[in-house]
Symmetry: C2
Subunit: 341 residues, 2 copies
């Protein structure tokens, strides 16, 4: 198992990718390829240079570049080189903490989607319930067709079953109420497709779910378009931040409170960590023909380690083969959204 | 100032509406009309029956009824009678904790929208920032046109300025990123309208905002369609519940933790209360030609009191007149969404 790590991606590159990858090699027994500026990687590695393979790529895609032109023009960027290596079989998965848009574009253009999958989705696992909850899509596709959402549901279901450890994963459609009739036209049409897939035994469709349910642990896969998914994810982040700030206010309110808070500090720190979306690992790009994991831009070494572990599990899981084997059931006709691409 | 209170609406009716209304009469100096089953209201009032006016309405709309047929068929329900009284000038505002759908339908059919307003919106004020943040629409309209969102932005801006106490209220469009180009087609077209309204000095449009920003206090009015708004609101509720449960886990983890938590209990209770969406008061139905306030279904007496206070402030504010005077600027042509009505 060889994981290709974009050593230049993220706010803490190359330190975090290099350290995280080294730890993964040691603890998980995976081979590592670090792709990026050779001198910087070597400086970071110091006397550990012999432990990993380095593939030089002297260019870099920055966060503010237009994804399509960056991927097209920066052929020698660490991200593009990493994806090309994956595409040509020189590794089993890619991990990058670089630009989300560029990684998604690069994965689509270079590694390509699974044949028959209309769009790749960003699918993070949120900290809720026993196994976490997969939110698919969380931002890759602002405009979706019912067929895209059907495909997201089926891919998410495979992932939840094989990687998250959910038995018969419960798939919910995010809507503005739980009644079958809730939602806008996209939801109405998607509901019919998911219900049919459920009736055919392809997924365990539990119906419409509200934003509250996503965090109550009552579903394993929450299906939505990338616009709504992004709003949902960012709202959750915003509320967590807001509450943590309010809590801090309580803890610093008086000397007695400060003392009480000091007692709780360790356990609260662990709780805070458990709420951190980044702690669950990276975000899988589902629908791409090989495993690509997006680590958070602010990843530290342990987040990169978690993302590499996730890439390994993903590559071993066989879910891409499952999706390929079942792709015939995920299609409804010609691509309605193809003009939007 | 006379506030009409639906005495039969909500989980705790008639106790909560009766007690909340009596408190409002005493503390705010408003006249109260209680509408509902006379014998039940009188039983609740006891020897205080002389303090308020009672208008009998022996029927009731329940939470699970279809809103349109309930409003059409239950002419003698407390909610319909209350709205008819408001419409005919027998009071200045209506407060109800009954079915949201029925109240919205009833307000639209009986009290009617402000002439020129395409759709009424549910606009709660969320606990964030100095003055709170108005989320408009949070669920009344799953399908919206750009013009609806323009109207929501302008109505929300008037409300934030006159009722929430925001000077030059900052209006943001909820999107999947802050760049001007973010969003789906509805957002792209709405962005242009809001930008033009901003350039013309009619609103203070600050651009696209993410879910995180809604809770960071960086906007006063967050504009979105009712589908997305509902997901946002319910996600916030779900995350708050999830964190409170996690906190409880920390507090009960050990005897030392229990003791420390006991010290913090009072301040944490206040914090929890400050996070409660219901504590800010009721949700205004903006776009209706007279003030209608939806109190939460689980309202207790103090929530009803807060909703009556909000109704009073709303009725005194003159924002309905402001909207009427400016309606010409909120129109873009024939109603694109009229087929959906």
């Amino acid at each position: 198992m060889k994981i290709i790590v974009d050593a230049m991606g993220g706010d803490n590159a190359p330190q975090a990718p290099v350290e995280g990858a080294l730890r993964a090699k040691k603890e998980l027994g995976v081979d590592i390829v670090l792709v990026g500026k050779e001198s910087e990687i070597r400086r970071e590695l110091g006397d550990r240079a012999g432990e990993v393979e380095i593939v030089p790529a002297e260019d870099m895609i920055t966060m503010d570049e237009d994804p399509v032109s960056a991927v097209r023009n920066k052929k020698n960027s660490s991200m593009v080189v990493a994806l090309r290596m994956l595409s040509s079989g020189e590794g089993d998965a890619v991990v990058s903490a670089g630009s989300t848009g560029a990684l998604l574009t690069g994965a689509t253009l270079i590694v390509k989607r699974i044949n028959g999958i209309r769009r790749a989705a960003m699918a993070p696992v949120l900290p809720a319930g026993e196994h976490g909850v997969m939110l698919i899509d969380c931002g890759a596709n602002a405009e979706c067709t019912p067929e895209y959402l059907l495909q997201f549901a089926c891919m998410g279901s495979f992932y939840a079953g094989k990687i998250m450890g959910c038995e018969n994963p419960r798939v919910g459609l995010v809507s503005n109420g739980t009644e079958d009739s809730k939602g806008d036209e996209l939801r109405h049409r998607t509901f019919e497709l998911l219900k049919a897939a459920g009736d055919a035994g392809r997924i365990n469709f539990v119906g419409n779910v509200e934003g509250t349910t996503v965090f109550s642990g009552a579903v394993d896969v929450a299906v939505t378009d990338g616009f709504t998914g992004n709003v949902l994810l960012k709202t959750a982040e915003g509320v967590i931040k807001f509450i943590m700030k309010s809590l801090k206010g309580v803890f610093y309110k008086s000397t007695v409170n400060k003392l009480a808070a000091a007692v709780l500090k360790k356990d609260l720190g662990e709780m805070k960590k458990s709420l951190d979306v980044n702690e669950v690992g990276g975000t899988a790009l589902l629908g791409i023909s090989k495993p690509v994991i997006k680590a958070h831009g602010s990843s530290d070494a342990s987040s990169i380690f978690a993302a590499v572990r996730q890439a390994k599990v993903f590559a071993e899981s066989g879910i891409i083969e499952d999706i390929k084997a079942n792709i015939g059931f995920f299609r409804t006709g010609p691509d309605e959204g193809s003009k939007a691409e």
